[in-house]
Amino acid sequence: MPEITKLIHKYLRYDKKFPHVWCPGCGIGIMMGAMVRAIDRIGYKKDDIVLVSGIGCSGRLPVYVDFNTLHTTHGRALTFATGIKIAKSHLKVIVVMGDGDATAIGGNHLIHTARRNIDLTAIIVNNNIYGMTGGQVSPTTNYGARTTTTNWGAIEKPFEIADIVTAAGAAFVARGTVYHAKMLDSLLEKAFRKEGFSVVEVISHCHTHYGKLNKMGQAVKMLEWMRDHAIPIEKARNMKEEELKDFFIIGVLADRENTPYHKAYAEMKQRIKEGK
């Protein structure tokens, strides 16, 4: 049996809820594949994984994978995940969000989860637009881009997700793309293995809305755009800011040691027990 078929049989609810809801050519499936490969490589037990999502295209992902899965409210996935992780700290909690989910309605929860350094992995699928609702501007829509709510071009500057969570205290921050699929699963593996709050921003595309409205072509064209505009961090280190202007950096952007919340809590409890 080919490797991929084994993974499908082991990790997907293939006999229950397919076909999926995503458009043909969507990048979320590539990310899901990378996630499953990374999980398989580490060898987590399926019973020990809790996959949490918010609302939007990415929000539908938990339906398809055979873990403990939770599809929460818009923007609040991290709050549910925080409760789960604190209550049962041996569980591996993974949160999948879109850019609108994570940085607009859920922006406050994102920075506070980073600040607390809750031991969970947040995968933020960034396609620069609200796809599920039909292509509205999001906090990561590029300046000047057209969406159904920026008919005259976006006049707001986009968020840099990685910079925000790094500044807020995340233990591990990486950025990948759905074009660089193999690199993506190694980034996800590193994030899963990291103790503390790890964030992987996954640059994806929405050819259905963003591509169409901004004349960027179909899925393949948009993937090629990622190929041509992504610079690995190792290479970027030797480049000037001027040269990097039209590119975005991929790879591990931050990796640091910091006590995760559940360990600090356990230490506090121990201190109380000892009467200190």
């Binding site: 539908r60 938990p62 939770l70 929460t72 709050t79 549910f80 925080t82 789960i84 569980l91 506070h112």
Partner: protein
């Protein structure tokens, strides 16, 4: 906190009694956000839960607080949060999620004068209808309302029992007076109090159907990480928990959510009858107003007026059978409320003109006094009685 005379005798505030009741019920997770007049609950939990092998976290807002509570409950811990009106407004979305995904949890709302920021330190009973209909969509709800410190303790335990038994969010609606008032209460560890734990699946994981209907209407609930992998969503779902848009699956789901409450009304609906046997006038009061009403009734009885009180302990579902019982004799029902008449509409609906319903409403941030209720009782013309 214990007094010198008796180690089980405490001088407690309503808010403190809520915390002790929750711990007694087995609550091991609290997430909250500071807000007057509910903050003492948050503070006392932060002290006690780490000592009790539980978990406390102060979240970034009330939305996050209830989100964390629901996550912890899914992971298997009895969980709760506490807030006041403005925070309660923020929590409504997750109350709906808890209803839909059937996640047990307890939400305390210590009511303060509203709307909006209102008067944080003044009492009110303005959230009665919000507790019923605050979250969108048709949904059943259980709301309990204490009127003494001891009852804060008992009803918190009761709220946990109901939430575990029926897999619903249960709201404890407390007014600021009861939450901040101090009373002597006896709380002994030997007390025989029934504590209910949620039903867990006993079938092998591959047989587990997470939202399967049975006669009780309440499916067994597996905790995350216990070997039963299933899907939880706020979307309408089929019996396996997966999203559905089929009318023949949506309908039965919503009907079951109602049925699990409606077929257990006898257990859920609680009320206190006070001198109602011969009463021609009934005072229908709850929370701190019921305390003033008792005083007023005592005074009126001295004057030979046949007056009693029906006090709803369960505000929602509305205690229709109890009200119908007193309506057999009562000709007048006085409904004093610290709002513009939120529950009096229910009283009128049930009474259907059988008794004359007199409302006494106060929304200036002060309590309804014994004198005011007494005045209302004596205003009813004896010749008409």
């Amino acid at each position: 906190m214990a007094t010198k005379k008796n180690p089980f005798e405490f001088l407690l505030q309503g808010n403190e009694a809520i915390v002790l009741g929750a711990l007694k019920a087995g609550c091991r997770f609290f997430a909250g956000y500071p807000i007057t007049p509910a903050t003492e609950i948050l503070e006392l939990f932060s002290l006690r839960l780490p000592q009790e092998d539980g978990y406390f976290i102060q979240m970034e807002d009330e939305i996050a607080s209830l989100g964390a509570v629901l996550g912890a409950s899914l992971a298997g811990l009895k969980s709760m949060t506490a807030t006041s009106g403005p925070g309660f407004s923020l929590m409504q979305e997750h109350i709906g999620f808890a209803v839909m995904a059937e996640i047990p949890c307890v939400i305390v709302d210590v009511m303060r004068a509203g709307p909006s920021t209102g008067v944080p330190t003044f009492p009110s009973q303005g959230d009665v209808m919000q507790a019923r209909w605050g979250t969108h969509g048709d949904h059943p709800v259980i709301v309990l309302c204490p009127s003494s410190v001891r009852e804060c303790y008992d009803l918190t335990i009761c709220a946990f029992n109901f939430s575990e038994k029926y897999r619903v969010p249960v709201i404890l609606l407390v007014d600021e007076v009861v939450a901040h008032m101090r009373e002597k209460v006896l709380i002994s560890p030997d007390e025989d109090i029934e504590i209910y734990e949620r039903k867990k699946p006993s079938v092998p994981p591959e047989w587990y159907i997470p939202y399967e209907d049975d006669l009780s209407g309440v499916p067994a609930m597996a905790s995350f990480g216990s070997g039963y992998r299933y899907h939880v969503t706020g979307l309408t779902h089929d019996i396996r928990g997966f999203p559905t848009t089929r009318p023949d699956e949506i309908g039965p789901l919503i009907m079951r959510l109602f049925r699990k409450i409606s077929q257990n009304l006898r257990e859920i609906e609680k009320a206190e009858f006070y001198l109602t046997d011969d009463a021609e006038i009934i005072v229908f009061a709850y929370g701190c107003v019921a305390r003033a009403a008792k005083g007023a009734i005592g005074e009126a009885r001295k004057k030979g007026i046949k007056v009693g009180m029906l006090r709803p302990i369960t505000l929602w579902p509305f205690i229709r059978p109890f009200l119908e019982k007193v309506l057999m004799k009562a000709e007048y029902i006085i409904v004093p409320e610290m709002n513009m008449g939120q529950l009096s509409r229910e009283v009128k609906r049930v009474s259907q003109g059988k008794a004359k319903v007199i409302t006494l409403n106060k929304v200036d941030g002060t309590i309804i006094t014994q004198e005011e209720i007494f005045h209302e009782i004596t205003r009813i013309d004896p010749c008409q009685r």
